[in-house]
């Protein structure tokens, strides 16, 4: 019988197992996410960005630690909190910012907005707006990898709220019986909008949800990019060896409200502060300084570079054009001659 719950195995390897560049990449990648999102928040306040806008601030390690553990060609899919995932995979921040503005140069041509970033070239299968809806899709993406014998896998992200949907349970069960190369990653940031995890179920350790399907599962400190990396590495090895899916619960936190319109009165300042004490970027910064991988000055230079990248992204988005009206009728059908109802 498959082991239902692998022993938590974080920090099993010594820190020096990672090359210096990895630390620097983590730092840079997470700082870019953070600064990009801070800017997006400001721009939302100025009504440059419209609609629903969900920021990733606080959750950066959940993506950065996964990307460092995986290969080119692996696939990713997530929900609507989706600005950071493609950026970590190499999507151009300019195209992401332009998407937030709804410009034709956006990563989804201005059609998706904040909730629907897609980047096929970088293996990013999108930001999806119906809670839980992307979970079976992730299993399906993995099904195609298995079918074609590629040795690649699909990282399927979701929020803690999504695990109460039937789609999640149906997908887990099927992925397990089919031994699909998929890693289900729950970004457990404690809340689904205003509802805490504890208020939605008697089961609050979300790694336990794998047990009904005998799926190897573990709970991971999602504020630690190193822990995330190790857990994803283990899951990826299993997936690539044909052993099937893994369920990972990343225990993380969103510093901001659910979306830009949420004042987040359902939680205490102290709770937010507690998590900020374990900030994923600050942790890795400290690691870098302690191990003398880089100096304060080096890190400041990276900060400046990122500021520049974000400023350029904003400039690009500002200067880009909105899609023209004809574009309403493109990208709806692959069949370019599809006869829309006109009267």
């Amino acid at each position: 019988m498959a082991s239902v719950k692998e022993k938590k195995n974080t920090r099993a390897k010594s820190k020096s197992d990672f090359p210096k560049e990895t630390y620097m990449e983590w730092y840079e990648s997470m700082l870019l996410m953070r600064k990009f999102e801070e800017k997006a928040g400001q721009l939302y306040g100025q009504q440059k960005i419209k609609g629903f806008c969900h920021l990733y601030i606080g959750q950066e390690a959940c993506v950065a630690g996964a990307v460092s553990a995986l290969e080119k060609g692996d696939k990713y899919i997530t929900a609507y909190r989706d600005h950071a995932h493609p950026m970590a995979l190499g999507s151009d921040p300019k195209a992401i910012m332009a998407e937030l503005y709804g410009k034709a140069t956006g990563i989804s041509k201005g059609k998706g907005g904040s909730m629907h970033m897609f980047d096929k070239e970088n293996g990013f299968f999108g930001g999806h707006g119906i809670v839980g809806g992307q979970v079976p899709l992730g299993a399906g993406i993995a099904f195609a990898e298995q079918y074609n014998n590629t040795g690649k896998l699909c990282m399927t992200y979701m929020g803690d709220g999504a695990v109460r949907q039937g789609a999640f349970h149906e997908a887990l069960n099927m992925a397990m019986t089919m031994k699909l190369p998929v890693v289900f990653c729950i970004e457990n940031n404690g809340y689904a909008m205003g509802t805490s995890v504890a208020r939605t179920s008697n089961v609050t350790g979300l790694d336990q949800l794998g047990a009904s399907y005998e799926m190897p599962s573990e709970s991971v400190d999602g504020m630690s990019v190193i822990d995330v990396h190790h857990a994803v590495d283990r899951a990826a090895k299993r997936a690539r060896a044909g052993e099937g899916p893994t369920l990972l619960e990343f225990r993380t936190y969103r510093y901001k409200g659910h979306s830009m319109s949420d004042p987040a009165k359902y939680r205490t300042k102290e709770e937010v502060e507690q998590y900020k004490q374990r900030d994923p970027i600050e942790q890795i910064r400290q690691e870098i300084l302690d191990q003398k991988i880089a100096t304060e000055k080096d890190l400041a230079a990276i900060g400046d570079k990122i500021k520049e990248i974000v400023a350029e992204a904003v400039k690009f988005a500002e200067e880009s054009e909105y899609p023209t009206a004809e574009n309403a009728y493109t990208d709806v059908y692959a069949d370019a001659s599809y006869p829309f109802v006109e009267v």
Partner: protein, 327 residues
């Protein structure tokens, strides 16, 4: 008369019905402790307690079904969908459950339930969050479908829906929750299935419902400036449809334009067009026109939204076309 916001009118309806009938309860995502995603249920947890104002996990299929089961067994649930886009996760329980139980059981069970929440676009939310399923639900025998356009109707129709012994789909709009309007003092009920002639006219009939009544009314204002006298009808419910009121008006004006937010194929406007040509063909002086969402998903960019949604300009143009007015 007093002035209430749309959301306050809905809340008053629910509060009054919950005070009068112990079997009525409200359930949905964020309805209780968060006071509603759009603050419709503000204060209701405080008044009625957690037994009757119930927060759920994000599990639409589950809580819609729990609602239907409880309705079969004597309760009168109000199930809130955060938006009707998410009702698709629950649609099996609505259509195979709520709408079928009475018929399948030979009338032994009824399902007095209200599914309510916002429908349609609410600005730049892209295509998964900008959909209209009024016509989908209206297609299903066993359901009633109510789509109010103003606070007074919202209150009277929601009270009627809660008291109704059949399953009712009650569709609102995020873009209307802040709208203010006069609401009669005291108890009142607006019967389901009765349209409202909101503006008398003789030249053309404009039919609409829900938040696109604003487009219908503004179009009539524009047309009046050019001497065209439009009669405007608010359907208020799209199952049943008050065909008689529409027919009566068309017999007088001989022209009909329908404004609807949904996509065109198999929509409420298709249905009305069929009905009117079938029973009042001889009264028509011009083809029936309709203004709907263009036949495509609604993306995020404002330029595309502008192209796709029904608006006053398109409506006025359609009216002029069937009146054979130049320019």
């Amino acid at each position: 008369m007093k002035v209430l916001q749309f959301r306050e009118a809905l809340r008053e309806a629910m509060n009054e019905e919950m005070r009068r009938d112990e079997s009525v309860y409200l359930m949905g995502e964020e309805v209780a402790e968060y006071n509603g995603a759009y603050k419709v249920s503000q204060g209701m947890l405080d008044e009625f307690g957690a037994k009757r104002v119930i927060d759920t996990p994000i599990a639409e299929l589950g809580f819609a079904g729990v609602g239907v089961g409880s309705a079969m067994n004597g309760l009168r649930p109000i199930i809130e969908f955060m938006t009707f886009n998410f009702s698709l996760v629950a649609i099996d329980q609505v259509i195979n459950g709520a709408a079928k139980v009475m018929s399948m059981s030979g009338g032994q069970f009824t399902v007095p339930i209200v599914f309510r929440g916002p429908t349609g676009n609410a600005g730049q939310l892209s295509s998964q969050h900008s959909q209209n399923f009024e016509n989908w639900y209206a297609n299903v025998p066993g359901l009633k479908v109510v789509v109010p356009s103003n606070p007074a109707d919202a209150k009277g129709l929601l009270k009627a829906s809660i008291r109704d012994n059949d399953p009712t789909i009650f569709m609102e709009s995020e873009l209307m929750y802040g709208d203010k309007g006069e609401v009669p003092e005291g108890e009142y009920i607006i019967p389901i299935g009765v349209a409202d002639v909101v503006r008398k006219g003789s030249d053309v009939t404009i039919v609409s419902f829900g938040k696109f009544m604003k487009v219908a009314n503004e179009s009539a204002d524009e047309l009046a400036k050019e001497g065209i006298n439009a009669e405007v009808i608010d359907l208020r419910t799209v199952r049943p449809i008050d065909y008689a009121t529409v027919i009566e008006s068309v017999k007088k004006t001989n022209r009909l334009v329908i404004v609807e937010e949904a996509w065109p194929l198999a929509s409420i406007s298709s249905e009305i067009s069929h009905y009117v040509q079938r029973v009042a063909f001889d009264y028509l002086d011009a083809p029936i026109h309709r203004i709907t969402n263009r036949d495509v998903p609604l993306p995020y960019a404002p330029t595309l939204i502008q192209e796709i949604l029904p608006n006053v300009e398109r409506t006025v143009k359609a009216v002029k076309e069937i009146m054979y007015v130049q320019k």
